[in-house]
Symmetry: D2
Subunit: 322 residues, 4 copies
């Protein structure tokens, strides 16, 4: 088995993959971008890939949301939550007072902005392709390709070989990033009672009040949404699709009926998978939306519909319709 | 075959039954009340009964609504619309100027009140058990049981043997009464594309916003209601159930799903039948709620659910879940 | 002061008026019908009239609902709840075993049907204009206008002069009728925190999903409905208006906003009054719909709107818009 | 007057500011980040600042959305739409075949990914702080701080001094970015009939079905949303606020009522301004939600409430309440 992750080595995404026990004995492959990782899953080079989807401070990861929504179908088969902590690291011998420029990924920079304003107000920010790359490049600082910064903001695990000048410098101490494991379609995780489902919904442009109508399909079945992102379709300013996570499994009756409802009214519904929640929290729903109640309703309806059609058995029916 | 109707002979209900072609060669039996008619259908003495359910001027016929909702299940299998016109009739020899009191059923009186105020402002009103009975009793006017009125308000057909003193005296010239033909369960009229379904819904008393929630189950499937009556359950002041007619047939996908939705959230749903509309008007619905669209959604969902469960075929799944 | 009531003397309506303390020293006038009572309020002959509006067993009183909705505006200024109990009464000397026919108002008959079926299964039913009239007429039983029945079903108070053969014969022992006191517009009962408001709403016929839209105006302001009756407008089969009672007073902010919302979307809203509830039960609503919260929102909005218009004070504005 | 923009010189944001006629004669100041620009507006160093808020391909600009929502209140007073076109530019003498690495801002890269995959599949991507900085840095290519790339992706206007090797290389030819002009509170653009309003809404965490409830406040007043972004509050995974643009002006009656409704049910509503739309398109609303209809409803309500309280004028009222 071959699992990819958004690289390089030392990213939070690698930490997420290391936390996914079933991948322990598999080969792990660093990918240069989310797009590359998912393309290699689609092509079969990888069996699955771990990619970031949502950060508690920065919000949805657009690159992942867009790469999942477009192209050959994929399936999310699991999720991992990783607490995000940052360190400030520099090559051995560099003093804190010598730092003039700091390199990191824009998402990392956004999460340490407060600390930087308080502690290194004059430092120049240099964007890098990832937080891990910011650190790695510093290790090559004595070479010709020396980076244009003196210290990196990165995950603790990525600071190997560097000196950590400051620890836990994130502005939000409870920051968490959510990662999803993505595979090709072909199987479906078994419902556990504590599942999530991820979809993307494209609206008919000529259908006003569209989002409200979509949400009513969830509300009518007592289904709780846990994430809603609008993403531009690119067609025109104001043309959006919706990336949605909600509680429950496609095999739950209430989820199946809601998905069918969306399928009827939307231009397109992309199903991206049902999978166990990382936190194991059971779905918040109601007795009226339980599988048992749905099945009672189905049995009742079947009974009503199973009456023979007119003309079958008696004069009343025969004469009544002839 | 034996068909009952709300008697006596000469009522609008008999006119409705005469208009029901399949009953042409059957025996017709006048019943003294809606309750008696439906009880005899329930007991098997009658094969079916024609009863009034809704008047365009007076509204729902409470006796029918209540008798349908309670007791052994019944099925509405058809409907008939009858234009309502009234005449003022008196025994031969009675002059218009001699009329001091007028007999008719309270519903009839309600529909000629304007004409009476204009033409016989001083006439006393005497209630009778039916408009037809008001006329019939006048025919016995020379006997000991002479009625306490001089003229009757009744259907033209009921005035046989009397002199019509004034024609078409209803205040509303477009008044129509809707009658339904009621039988025991056991068969179901075939969907025609122009059907109605009748139900009674009892709410859980501890579920606030209840009617809104019920109506949303129709709106979410683009189902049009044609009649809504609240009826007291008798349990307490303010405790109501809802008698509802809506467009579509229980075999229509959108109707089936709506009924299941009501069944899940309501205390009880009494199904009273799906039957062709008297006016043959096709259901007003949308493409998104068509049977074709529902079936596409079902097929799509089935495809999503049919993926094998984890562990079935590959190392990814096996290791992923072990 | 002159108060009317739906007569004759001995009706439950008179009992309701007697229970209305402020009318204790006023003149009480029996009216032959709800229509007459309300017409005399409109014309000024009466200062107010007590009429039945809703029965816990029989439902809304159509005659009252229709008479309130049409014609010169009226105002409900109070309500009274009266427990309904029936007796079987006959002239002195008449034995129970001699009863062949029973007279009463159709609403009364509906409420003792079960008792009659069990105790006098063969008795013929004779409708009368009121339960009290059924009793009164029996007192004249020795005259030429003897009624066509042997015993009356009426309120205990109406049985004066007759012998009570059976007591408390109503099928539903908790039956209650709700009466309203109706006056001309011109003043408004002070809000008490435990009020009701009564309205009639006519929909635009070309606006589909109409009832749902109306109910959402209540739900959006956490307003609880206590009665909803659909009444035909008479225009055509299926053309209905809605008679609605809900919790709260027109001077409550949430009620005012809901009424304005209905006024905007409906063809017509007839306001029939805000008045203290007979049972003194406070309105079930939420903090978010409290007067305090509404006023905070109004203050906040006023602050936003009170900014001076562009061009007033500075170059930014001046140049920005010139 | 002093206007800031997200710099450096040559960005699309500067193009937006140049298109804002009222700023023609004012001083224009390039700011290193959206945060700095808005901080200087807040502090008074700038009178206003032009910042990007939404891109038709990439979606909402998180940095702007977050900087507007937090901190001292600001007001959007106008918007500008700028078509986005990209060029590939390199220092004089660099051949297309020599390009090994390309520098640009991540948002720029996202919009030319397709073109790059087709035309420069082996080029390495180097992130820069802005598309304009990618170009500017190339002009210093002969100095010690030579950038680590050979060509820049930037706006045509930013390519001055460089050679354009390829024109109009954006994957989406209709891409547009929307910019907003932000000032301190203190005045309000006059309603034009073609306005937008921008708000941020924080929900009470203990109020389920929250987004649906928020959207119903718009739907109930026929208000059309043009942008909805969920943004994490940072408090916890799954804790979101909503950044919303909708049609209409705070001085429009329907908008005022909707804002009050949100203010009542939400934890916080941040008002970010009402301003003329760049495209001049009138609000899509209905007659029922027009200012005229709102004012009729207000007048009607005022009439109902203006009745004197009981006790004021007559015995009915006095006795009725004593």
């Amino acid at each position: 088995m071959k699992y990819g992750f958004l690289g390089p080595v030392g990213t939070f995404t690698q930490a997420a993959l290391l936390a996914w026990r079933p991948a322990a004995s598999a080969e792990h492959v660093a990918c240069p971008s989310v797009n590359v990782a998912l393309a290699q899953v689609r092509s079969g080079e990888l069996d699955a890939a771990m990619v970031p989807i949502e950060n508690s401070v920065e919000g949805g990861v657009s690159a992942t949301l867009d790469a999942l929504a477009a192209g050959e179908p994929l399936r999310v088969i699991g999720e991992v939550l990783v607490p995000i902590t940052f360190v400030l690291a520099a090559p051995e011998g560099v003093e804190f007072s010598e730092i003039r420029a700091v390199g990191t990924h824009p998402h990392g920079w956004a999460q340490v902005r407060g600390w930087m304003a308080a502690n290194l107000p004059d430092a120049v920010y240099v964007p890098t392709l990832s937080t891990a790359a910011a650190a790695t490049d510093l290790l090559a600082a004595h070479t010709d390709t020396a980076p244009a910064y003196d210290a990196a903001v990165c995950a603790p695990v990525a600071a190997a070989g560097l000196t950590v000048l400051a620890d836990d410098i994130g502005d939000n101490k409870t920051a968490v990033t959510r990662f999803v494991l993505v595979a090709r379609p072909g199987w479906l995780p078994t419902p556990t009672g504590a599942d999530k489902t991820t979809i993307v919904v494209y609206q008919h442009t000529d259908r006003s009040g569209g989002l409200l109508e979509l949400l009513e399909h969830f509300a009518a079945r007592d289904i709780n949404m846990t994430r809603l992102e609008s993403r531009p379709t690119g067609a025109a300013m104001g043309s959006y699709c919706f990336s949605i996570d909600f509680e429950g499994h496609v095999r739950d009756e209430r989820v199946g009926e809601a998905l069918m409802g969306l399928h009827r009214v939307a231009a397109q519904v992309v199903f991206l998978g049902s999978y166990p929640r990382a936190d194991g929290q059971a779905a918040a729903t109601t007795e009226a939306a339980s599988n048992a109640r749905f099945r009672q309703a189905q049995d009742w309806l079947r009974g009503l519909r199973d009456e023979p059609a007119e003309g079958a058995t008696s004069g009343l029916r025969r004469s009544g319709r002839s």
